[in-house]
Symmetry: C2
Subunit: 286 residues, 2 copies
């Protein structure tokens, strides 16, 4: 089994580590526009050797784990360079534009559009870890456009890694993910900004961070290089989520100003059922 | 050493557990308006016996760990019932109103106003854990108003529990904590609300929650009984933080609408320094 990982950061590097554990005989090749990262991935034995696009035709599997702006630029070239039996898998956090980009590509059947919902706030090859994807959801889009034998090859990997598979169309994916992921990141970044702007004394932030701030602001450590193109590609959905979020905050503020603490209580009480949702226990629908 | 814990939930129960470890000979008495919680605390051996206010005069130390609305009502009565050598310690998340409430109380010198910055999103006696306060900050207000010998007694406990002490005036405390804690809770509650309202299918939320939503929404599991009175008492500061937060979100949205992704990038990049702040590594001030 010959595998190429294009983009040897947290996401690609963690794939490579799991693949090594699952298929010890696999040869893992790495490609990265950042030569320092590529060398680091080699030194950390995340990949076995460096590659360039000329070598892609020899690969059984190509994982494309690069920021989504680079993804839409590179994916057509990667498919051009791939062999007839190569399955090319992406891991982009947006799915509409990437699917549109290769819609009419002659090797569309070699491509499987994926979004493994996993990550940490860290990045780069040194952030790659074993088991990052275990128990996590992998959303696959337009599965019917991928050759069946190549789907099978990819699914063997995902199942071996312990991922849960969900199928979704790219438009629905981008809408849902705007709420559940993209909005979380913006709320966290803007929370961090608001606190940093106000707290001139950083020591005060640090001392008080145990009060819930630390977990809520965790995503504000995320990479702007990764997130700017995501927000750009999913702009319409993200703006919609932001408008609804701001409206809910305005309403909460108004309840405070009105001194209507029964409504303040109810707002929080109604949202408490997020506990059950995150436990995966469906509530009784009325 | 005789200790009373008034309010045997997460905060008071965790104090009781640490005290048992630190001072094995201590007798821990419990008071709670919720008889089920009180019995649970006894069954879990968090407390050794039940007490009422009549017994407070015999106590060396009284920890008052109840919601802040109950705190301002009960604290004068608790001080009335306490002995001359009893140190009464609160753990309220707001400090101005509680300090005002007992400002002219004849036993003001018996009271130490504290806010241990620790907690989890869980509540009740069964949520109490050993070591909750280790390495956490305890903010003490108006320390000069507490009798020195009683300060010493309290500090011996806090140091034994491994807490870091910070002194602050109540007005500054309430302003800082509004940014670093109270705003985090509202941002999390409203994020949860926005996502629940939109995602009719709770399965979708659950499947995608690994994308950062889970940690950002963690605080939305918090108890409305605890948080409504905090927001009520700290309303002015909380409204101010909300206005600044909403303004930052509006601006971010505008950058998206304008297609100004350089500014979107910069907003995130500037906030990334929260990483250094939370590591406690002070940045070079220019």
């Amino acid at each position: 089994m010959k595998v190429a990982v294009i983009g040897v950061g947290l996401i690609g590097g963690s794939f490579a580590k799991d693949i090594q554990q699952l298929w010890p005989e696999a040869e893992i090749h790495g490609i990265d526009s950042n030569e320092i990262h590529l060398q680091e991935a080699l030194d950390l034995e995340i990949i076995h050797e460096k590659l360039d696009y000329n070598g892609l035709s020899q690969m059984d599997m190509v994982l494309v784990t690069i920021p989504v702006n680079a993804l839409v630029e590179e994916l057509p070239k990667i498919l051009d360079a791939s062999g007839d039996e190569t399955v090319v898998i992406d891991a982009g956090s947006t799915k509409s534009l990437v699917c549109e980009t290769v819609e009419n590509h002659p090797k569309r059947r070699n491509f499987l559009a994926c979004h493994p919902i996993a990550g940490t706030e860290f990045s780069g090859p040194s952030a790659a870890i074993n088991g990052l994807y275990k128990g996590k959801t992998n959303i696959i889009c337009e599965v019917e456009k991928t050759a069946f034998k190549l789907q099978e090859k990819a699914l063997e990997l995902f199942q071996g890694m312990g991922m849960r598979i969900r199928y979704m169309n790219p438009v629905a994916h981008d809408k849902h993910i705007a709420y559940v992921s993209h909005l979380s990141h913006i709320s966290s970044f803007m929370l961090g900004k608001t606190v940093i702007e106000k707290e001139k004394n950083e020591r005060d932030i640090f001392d008080m961070a145990g009060s819930g701030f630390e977990s809520t602001v965790r995503l504000a450590k995320s990479s702007p290089d990764m997130w700017t193109p995501i927000f750009e590609q999913n702009k319409d959905n993200v703006v919609e989520t932001l408008e609804e979020y701001i409206q809910n905050l305005e309403q909460f503020k108004q309840f405070l100003l009105d001194g209507d603490f029964e409504k303040v209580y109810n707002e929080m009480n109604n949202t408490n059922r997020i506990k059950q949702i995150l436990k995966g226990i469906p509530l009784t629908k009325l």
